[in-house]
Symmetry: C2
Amino acid sequence: MSQQSTPNEARPNEAWFTEAHQASGSSIGFRTERLLHAEKTPFQTIEIHKTTDWGNLMVIDGCVMLTSRDNFLYHEMMTHPALFTHARAKRVVIIGGGDCGTLREVLKHEEVEHAVQVEIDERVTRLAEQYFPELCEANGDPRAELLFIDGIKYMAEAEPDSLDLIIVDSTDPVGPAEGLFNAAFYASCYKALRHGGLLVQQSESPLAHLELIKSMRSAMRTSGFSAVKTLPFPQPCYPTGWWSCTMARKGGDLSGFRERGALSKNFPTKYYNAEIHKAALAQPEFLREALGE
Amino acid sequence: MSQQSTPNEARPNEAWFTEAHQASGSSIGFRTERLLHAEKTPFQTIEIHKTTDWGNLMVIDGCVMLTSRDNFLYHEMMTHPALFTHARAKRVVIIGGGDCGTLREVLKHEEVEHAVQVEIDERVTRLAEQYFPELCEANGDPRAELLFIDGIKYMAEAEPDSLDLIIVDSTDPVGPAEGLFNAAFYASCYKALRHGGLLVQQSESPLAHLELIKSMRSAMRTSGFSAVKTLPFPQPCYPTGWWSCTMARKGGDLSGFRERGALSKNFPTKYYNAEIHKAALAQPEFLREALGE
C-alpha cells in the first residue's frame, strides 16, 4: 500500500463545518478555526466561522452562503453577464444579496446610475460589513441604496417600466426566499422592467436541481419574458460545486452580449472576462436536451 | 426563524462517506446505503459504497475516485477535447484509467484503431467490471487492449514516434501516481508521440492546485511540447467540485479543434459538445493571469 502523504480524514483535533445537502445526498465542508459569531434574527439563524483555508464562512439556517475565497465566482457571474448583455443598465435592483458582494460588482459598471439592494434581513448586511468588509467597499457609493424590507412586496409595488436590471440573489427556494421562485414574483419583475430589461436569478445546481431550473424557466416565460438562458458556473461552496444563474429578457433575445465592452472593461475581475461570458452561454449536452434548447 | 424544509445536517440514522481534503481544508461527502466491497491490493486500498443518490462510489486510499452519477464529466473531458483536436488519432494509450470509463469514451471514435489501457492495479478494473459495468462496456472491443503493468515503465519503453494520443488518467500526484507528474515521464511521452501528437493529463483543481498546474505545464514545455492548454470543467466528486485537464502538443499549436467533427459526432455524450469544447478553452481571469496566457 502506498504511503499516504495527503491524509483525507478529518483529524481528531480538527473542527469542520459540514452542510449535508439532503436533497442531493451530498455534503460540502470546510475546516474551521473557530466560530466568530452566531445569532438568531427574526428571519433566520446566521453563523460566521473562521476557516483554515477559505477565509470567513457565512452560514444561514445551516446552509453555506459564502466564503471569502470563492464568492467571486458567484458574485461576478450574477452581475457581469447581465450588465454586458444589457445595452446600458442605468437602474438596477438587487433582491436579497445582503452580503453586498453583488452590489459591489454592479457598481463597477459606470453606466449604472442607481442600484438598490433590497435585503429582508439587515443583520446579514451588518455581519458582512464586519466579517466580509471587502464585499461592502462600495456601500458608500452615492449610487447605492440599501433597503431592509421584503423584496417580494418591493417588486409588487415597483413603478412599471422603471428598471433595467433585476438581480435575484437569494437563498434557496425555501423559507423567506420561497416566494422569489414563482410566476407571481416574475410578473412583478416583468412589469417593473423597461423594454429590453433583464431579470437574472441564481438557479441552483445544473446537476442536482434540474427540475427547479425547468420550472423557473417555464414560469419566467409564462410571465411574459421573451428569452430565457441558463448560465452554469463553478461554485465550490454550494451543493455539487456547480451552480447556475438564469437570465430572462423583456423583449428581444439573449443570443449575444456587448463583447467589446467586456473586452475593454476598466475594472478588475477574478473569474469573469469576455471569453468566460461566451463559455457560460454554452450548454452541456444533458442540459441542452433537458431544456429543449 | 423560517421553517426548515430542506434539513442540512446528517441525520442520526444516516451513513456518509466523507473525504476531508487536507490540502484545501474542504471536504466532500456522499450519503451511503452500505459498503459493498473493501480490499487492500498490493498498491492501495479500494472501497465500493452504494450511495443513496450517486449510484456506486469508488474510493481509493480514502480519496473519491468516481461515482456512477457524475463520472461522465471527467471521462468526457479527458477524451473528446483531445480526440477532436487531433486530426486523426489512430493509436491511443491510457495510463491509469482502471475504471475503463476513459477507454469507453476513446473507443466511441471510429478513427481510433488501437487503444491500450495501462493500469497498474488490475483490481481496479475487476471491481469496475462488477460495480460500474456501464463503464466497461467497450472492454471487449477488438481495438481495446488492457494491460496491468506500470505505466511509467511502459511509457519509458514505448516505441518512439508510435502514438497519437496519451491520456494520463491517474490518481493524485502521491503514491503510485507521483511519477506521472514530472519531466522524466513527460519526456517519455514526448518521445513516444508522433509529430502533432497529444498528451492530456488530469490536472486537479484550478482553485486548489494552481501551483501543481503551473509546475506540470512548465515540465511539459521543458520536455519539448510546443503548446500547453488547461481546460477546466465541473466535477462534483473531486475537491472544490471544479477540476481540469491539461493538454500538451508535440509540434503545432492548441488554438483550434475539429469543430465540424464535434458538431456531427455520431455517438452520444452527456456533457461534451462542440460548444462545451470551445467553452473549456476559455480561461478564467485568475487562471489566465497565473498561467501567463
